[in-house]
């Protein structure tokens, strides 16, 4: 076996799954949206100038001490409850000791054998089938700073001339959610992984505990994958693919690891236990740090913090604030909106559930909201390879466009052009209509003039109508619409034409 084999060769996914069953474990890190950091009062806003949101505590200066952010604990408990976990009556933070320049104290304040939430479960739906996912634990910890390596070709530390560290992120509260091993039919594994992360995103959003912006790193997924020969119960060696940061990538990375590991095993090689990097552009993983069981973080209870002992009253109070569970909510919405199963699946697969909810809340009929989000926006997101919420078009814009349609200022065709303008960043709907000259002509006299022109130009059609064939009037409407370059309400044209022709 050569190292290059471990990086390069793959087999077809169908061949891989014919021989092996994949076993997965997913670790998701969620950045909470608390106003201040986990152990100090520093703000947490994304995108501030480097090192502007730091203090002695999150810089790990000598003498500084942590104090637990109660809101962080509250969010952790809510997440635990939403994942049907038990909530610890008493738990502690622990120090995870290892050296890295972006970790100010050279230990991460985390939790070890006493997580705040444990033994939970959740469900995801893939192709109409429900899969139960067991949750091992959800624990509290702090984020590290962010290193930027300068001078290397790949942005990695290798080959860099120097590195810059921004500690703004250091100390931002994280919840790490760890599944137990997930074993589902091999051909569903990658889709289940994706559905799980997508479901977590919706759940965390609904809980209001995180911004869950994968593009900003507030939801990060590590995927553990191993293979075992079909029918065997012996687990294979697992790899951990780090920082797979979009739903689509989760699915692709899992698929890739299955095919890569199958190729390694088929050629008589051994899968190395290691961390692997996911490459979004090429769709492959490459070897990172070799990880052995000898990694020793020397965990011990954090002596600078007192145990966290959430009272049962508090836990029950928080439970009472939990929003509806996502599957229950989905069923309710489907009923309220009158969508078919197929329509609902399209909505969920298109990640358009939350935008549609928000749009409907603004008074837009569900069918119209679906039409715009799936027909225009999800399609555009898909074409540009972006997540839907990164498009820059939100429920407010959709509602505004729909309002113009309802008022008769736009028809669907023109509305599509408004969306085009919105996606191109041309301004507000009103500005786009103005610039592009898209408004429907609602002036009756202009329409009547056009009707007169159509009648004059098509005497044969008029004769047919007058001889008892009103359906022939369609050709006249077409002519008027053409004359108006589409910027007329067809129903209005029909009404005026009928009056004119006396039918």
């Amino acid at each position: 076996m050569t190292p290059s084999l471990n990086d390069a060769a793959v087999v077809e996914i169908s061949d891989a799954l014919a021989q092996y069953d994949p076993v997965m474990g997913l670790e998701v890190h969620v950045e909470l949206n608390t106003k201040s950091k986990m152990f100090c009062g520093c703000p947490t806003e994304f995108g501030a100038p480097p090192n502007s949101q730091t203090c002695p505590v999150c810089l790990g200066l000598p003498g500084a001490l942590p104090v637990v952010n109660r809101r962080g604990v509250e969010s952790a408990i809510k997440i635990g409850l939403a994942l049907n976990c038990e909530i610890a009556e008493w738990c502690r933070f622990a120090r995870k000791n290892y050296f890295y320049p972006d970790m100010p104290k050279n230990f991460q304040t985390s939790q070890y054998d006493e997580p705040i939430a444990f033994n939970g479960w959740t469900e995801v739906v893939v192709d109409g089938e429900t899969y139960r996912i067991e949750i091992e634990r959800a624990h509290m910890e702090e984020d590290t700073g962010k290193s930027t390596h300068i001078g290397g070709a790949t942005g990695r530390i290798h080959g860099a001339s120097h590195s810059l560290v921004d500690y703004n992120r250091a100390g931002i509260p994280l919840i790490e959610i760890v599944t137990k091993t997930i074993e589902v039919p091999g051909d569903k594994a990658a889709a289940v992984a994706r559905a799980y992360v997508s479901m977590l995103r919706d759940l965390l959003f609904a809980l209001g505990v995180s911004d869950v912006r994968m593009d900003q790193g507030s939801l990060r997924c590590d995927a553990n994958v191993s293979l075992k020969p079909r029918g065997s119960s012996t687990l294979g060696t697992r790899t951990e693919t780090k920082n797979v940061n979009s739903f689509r990538s989760v699915e692709r990375a899992v698929t890739y690891e299955i095919t890569r590991q199958a190729a390694v095993l088929n050629s008589g090689g051994k899968v190395l236990q290691e961390t692997r990097h996911w490459h979004e552009d090429t769709g492959i993983t490459t070897s990172g740090r070799e990880k052995s069981d000898a990694d020793d973080y020397r965990y011990f209870p954090e002596p600078d913090l007192v145990p966290v002992a959430p009272s049962r009253e508090w836990v029950e109070e928080l439970r009472a604030t939990l929003p509806e569970a996502p599957p229950v909510r989905r069923a309710r919405l489907q009923k309220e909106w009158g969508f078919t199963d197929l329509e609902m699946r399209d909505v969920i697969n298109g990640n358009a559930l939350e935008p549609i909810v928000a749009t409907v809340e603004l008074g837009v009929p569900a069918a119209a909201a679906k039409k715009w989000w799936l027909g225009e926006l999800a399609r555009a997101a898909n074409e540009s390879g972006q997540d839907l919420d990164a498009l820059g078009v939100g429920p407010a814009e959709v509602a505004e466009v729909q309002k113009l349609v309802d008022e008769g200022s736009l028809n669907d065709k023109l509305a599509r052009q408004v969306f085009e303008g919105l996606l191109a960043g041309e301004g507000t709907p009103a500005e786009i209509i103005e610039k592009r000259g898209l408004a429907l002509v609602s002036d009756d006299s202009a329409l009547l003039d056009a009707i007169d022109r159509a009648i004059a130009a098509n005497p044969d059609v008029v004769e047919k109508v007058n001889s008892g064939k009103p359906a022939a009037a369609g050709a006249l409407i077409g002519a008027v619409m053409k004359d108006m370059r589409g910027q007329a309400d067809a129903a209005k044209v029909r009404q005026l034409l009928n009056e004119k022709l006396g039918i």
Partner: protein, 501 residues
């Protein structure tokens, strides 16, 4: 008024209140004394002349303006170099922090400043408070003012030496295994380790987080109590801080009545290995307390014999993690940053050059004790011992109000005597360590001089959590009874230091 340095803090406060002396005069007198004797004693690592005089001036101005001031306003103090003071060099006795000026005040310093207490400078200590002699300081040994050839104790030898050399009437120490009390005993002064959580650790450069406790050093019980009151109390910046009122330590120090108080002599802290002169003074003190009406009984604390080994697992474990932050990345020493070395290499070179032998020894010990496969046998077992020691205390306090023992098995030893024998050095803290493991209050009070060497002996009082007042009560009773015999506190017997300037 050169005798200003001979006054107690309480007396100095009175002189200022009555307008007989200003804080600037008092501060200047102590700065002069430091200039005169510290060449021999080496209690200070940094003297903040300008800062101290500015603080003193500000207090005097407030007093002139008729503002209400706290009891110790204007009194000077020496600060152990392990507590951060904004803009003032803070090294913890280590080369790795040479030149570091903290951007923030520790809570203790905030409270000192708020009380108008004038900070003269930073005192010498064993590197990162690891040691019992100050010989582990990267900046030279402090000498015991009673005998300059001897160590002043440690780790807070600088603070205790400063007050016994009359360089300051008050000092702040920190006590992890005896670092306030043992130097107190060795220099004939009072040293108090408050209840863990009774004083804030915020801004205290951590040695062992679960043990470190800042506390007062002074020449009299009352002075220690006044300082204790100024720095103690709940601090929301320290999660392990206790949210309860400060025990009535000043009242106890003024009262000093032990009639009816039940005192337990710890059987395990005495006998073999204890210097005869130490035991003699200790037992005389116990007799004296009996005469004053205390009920004295012998109490057994069977697990105390395991305190030392447990301590030397817990402390290095926590220290190995606490000291990981010294990586040359953000502050302090940086070695090998010449463009050819990786960050990892720079960290390694810096730690090699910046840490002393004892610090390295304890980092290695602690790293090993926390390692996978050894954790249960070492750190885990030590925590169980800790629980058993706490139970010994709890059981003892069912029978008695306070426990007593010698503060140290011996008096101050000669410089160089034990530096090559870590175990002998560690045994210095045999009597003081149990209170750190249990987190209760404890203090050392002067009880005389050993016949063999004429060096001071400390009387150790241990009281339940948040009953620090009981320590002061016993200390005050002992102090006034002994003062009658000696014609003043023990410190009046100290030899005059030669003034070198």
């Amino acid at each position: 008024m050169s005798d200003l340095t001979r006054k107690t803090a309480a007396e100095l406060a009175e002189l200022m209140t009555s307008g007989q002396a200003s804080s600037v005069e008092i501060t200047q007198a102590h700065l002069d004394r430091i200039a005169a004797v510290d060449g021999d004693v080496h209690a200070f690592l940094h003297v903040d002349t300008e800062g101290a005089l500015a603080q003193a001036k500000a207090v005097d101005e407030k007093r002139t303006a008729g503002q209400q001031l706290s009891p110790l306003a204007g009194v000077p103090l020496a600060l152990k170099d392990v507590l951060t003071q904004e803009g003032v060099p803070t090294t913890a006795g280590s080369k790795i922090l040479e030149g570091w000026k903290p951007p923030y005040d520790s809570t203790v310093v905030q409270r000192l400043k708020a009380a108008g207490i004038v900070i003269l400078g930073k005192t010498n200590m064993d590197e990162f408070a690891m040691g019992s002699s100050t010989e582990n300081s990267a900046y030279g040994t402090t000498h015991n003012p009673w005998d300059l050839a001897r160590i002043p104790g440690g780790s807070g030898g600088g603070s205790s030496a400063a007050i016994s050399a009359y360089e300051a009437p008050l000092a702040i120490g920190t006590d992890t295994g005896g670092s306030i009390r043992q130097p107190g005993a060795f220099t004939g002064t009072v040293g108090v380790k408050p209840t863990y959580g009774g004083t804030s650790r915020y801004g205290l450069i951590a040695l062992a987080s679960s043990l470190d406790t800042p506390g007062p050093c002074a020449r009299t019980t009352l002075d220690a109590a006044l300082l204790h009151e100024a720095i103690a109390g709940y601090d929301p910046m320290d999660s392990t801080s206790i949210n309860q009122p400060v025990p009535a330590v000043v009242e106890a120090a003024r009262n000093g009545d032990v009639a009816g108080l039940r005192i337990g002599v710890v059987k395990e802290l005495g006998g073999e290995g204890y210097q005869p002169g130490v035991e003699a003074r200790f037992h005389e003190a116990v007799e004296l307390l009996t005469k004053l009406g205390a009920e004295v009984v012998e109490v057994s604390c069977p697990h105390f014999e395991y305190a030392l080994p447990a301590y030397y697992l817990i402390l290095p474990s926590e220290a190995s993690s606490n000291l990981a932050k010294f990586d040359a990345m953000r502050y302090g020493l940086r070695v090998g940053d010449d463009g050819t070395n990786s960050a990892e290499k720079v960290t390694s070179l810096t730690r090699e050059a910046g840490f002393g032998a004892e610090v390295k020894r304890r980092i290695i010990l602690g790293t090993h004790a926390l390692s996978s496969g050894y954790y249960d046998a070492y750190y885990g077992q030590a925590q169980k011992v800790r629980t058993l020691i706490a139970r010994d205390f709890a059981k003892a306090y069912e029978q008695v109000d306070v426990l007593v023992s010698p503060a140290t098995p011996t008096t101050a030893f000669a410089i160089g005597d034990r530096i090559d024998d870590p175990i002998a050095m560690y045994k210095n803290d045999l009597c003081t360590i149990p209170s750190n493991l249990a987190g209760n209050a404890a203090a050392s009070f002067p009880c005389g001089l050993a016949d063999e060497d004429g060096m001071p002996v400390g009387f150790h009082v241990m009281a339940p959590v948040m009953r620090d007042d009981l320590c002061y009560q016993v200390g005050a009773a002992l102090e006034s009874a002994l003062a009658e015999q000696w014609g003043g506190v023990l410190m009046t017997k100290a030899p005059e230091l030669e003034v070198t300037r």
